[in-house]
Subunit: 302 residues, 2 copies
Amino acid sequence: MTLPVFGAAEITEAASPELIFRAVREALIAHAEGRTSVPPPMVLEFPAQQGDCHVKAGHVDGSPHFAVKIASTFASVNNGLMLVVDATTGVPAGVLADEGLLTAWRTAAAGALITHAMSPTGIDEVAVLGTGEQARLQVEWLRKLRPLNRVRVWGRRPEAADNLCRALQARGIDARPDALDAGAPIVITTTAARSPLPVEAFRTALQVTGVGTDMPGKHELPEQLFAGALVATDDHAQCLDHGDFGNAVRAGVVAADTDIAVGTVLRDGRPAYDGLSIADLTGIGAVDAAVGSAVLRALTKS
Amino acid sequence: MTLPVFGAAEITEAASPELIFRAVREALIAHAEGRTSVPPPMVLEFPAQQGDCHVKAGHVDGSPHFAVKIASTFASVNNGLMLVVDATTGVPAGVLADEGLLTAWRTAAAGALITHAMSPTGIDEVAVLGTGEQARLQVEWLRKLRPLNRVRVWGRRPEAADNLCRALQARGIDARPDALDAGAPIVITTTAARSPLPVEAFRTALQVTGVGTDMPGKHELPEQLFAGALVATDDHAQCLDHGDFGNAVRAGVVAADTDIAVGTVLRDGRPAYDGLSIADLTGIGAVDAAVGSAVLRALTKS
């Protein structure tokens, strides 16, 4: 038996946005309903190389596969791959050598799904904080779910914000740099920040989605935003451990039992709520497993 | 770039016992000296399939690779593979599709190294509890380090003990089933027991090596053995969490700070001690990483 390895080009062809959206949505709902297994993730750090590697694993009950994923970032370059394993025999079924693409896409899909589900209908203005690949993807994937008419981009380095705006403009999106004087009703944070982003960036926000807090020490959202907000977490324990929800709980701004599950919002819709809503996404291994299983099945037509 | 995948046959050819012994020994010493990174392992359980999957990761400081390993056991059948990743770039360097062989060999090598290092010179009689692959390997690998003249095998199922004895006899080893009436000065436990093995099995022991406690809930060694014994652990925190050392600490038989490191014994030799000595091995990701790196380098001549 040879273990099949699929590369980034094949994976890109097989993994349509529809496939990714469906797998991510179903896995988040299954997770909210307790139908997943997700051990706490592992992190290896390589300070001398400005590198870290996150290992996640998970399984959605009843899925034919479980998966173990590594996602590394060394000197700002992402890489990684996913091992997909037969969940009835424990035999490795395939390696998705995706160079980190599937992690980027499942993060984009999860962010877009919850941003869309929690934002009042008709809002088409978005501010994105951060200028990396995930900033671009959050905008592009949200635009697959609702029309966007104005995108504002803020980053610490103005030239990086300019570059991202040009990339989005090339895709037909009205994107402009934001010096934090404009804002938007939807704010998406995609940074590697370790201290809160400027609070004025959230001045006009109705919905805030944070996707950057993937390990202890990360901190994007000012704690005070959480006071009285409707908060959805992708995983309660993980967001308490290293999400911005946990940062706000430790600051005493909110109680640890006030969040609802992202999957519940995706299943039932946004609860009636007038104030600010926040989605805190830390990334869960069961979502990776669902995506890996779906992509492997598409690649092998099984 | 294609990711190279190596199968069990190639790995068997490249991974000589000398290579495995050297990598395991150096990694255990590095671990004892604090020169490794090892996040806590992950476990996924599949009760309906009598399956579990252990994920370990680790890095020895200065090694060109880190590794992430999955080891699954479904209905008593082992499988798994190891991902070896470049530790300076985060780029996957190779997949060792070893079907669990490297895990079996590094466990055998670690057990043999510490059993040999902690046992008085000249002892050539061993009792092994358990009748699986690892029982056979512990005997075979220890025999690479010291002569063995009599091996006793005990298992819950007498026919399994008979089978193992025949397999060992075929390799020229004087192996006989043991009804716990004989015993031996060296006792090695290789079971998946969740409650202590019969205490009479350890009656004549000078050295006990346990390799079966790989996750919470496992329990091989009777707690009372630890009273006054010299205890070496492969990883202090992990053995406290789910090794038999932890079981004995929780039972109040020994204090949590009384163990020494297996790697220290391998480096400095056994401390002067007259009573029973015990080695508690739970398996550490840095050892997997060292083995994976050494095998990949042998396979790619790099």
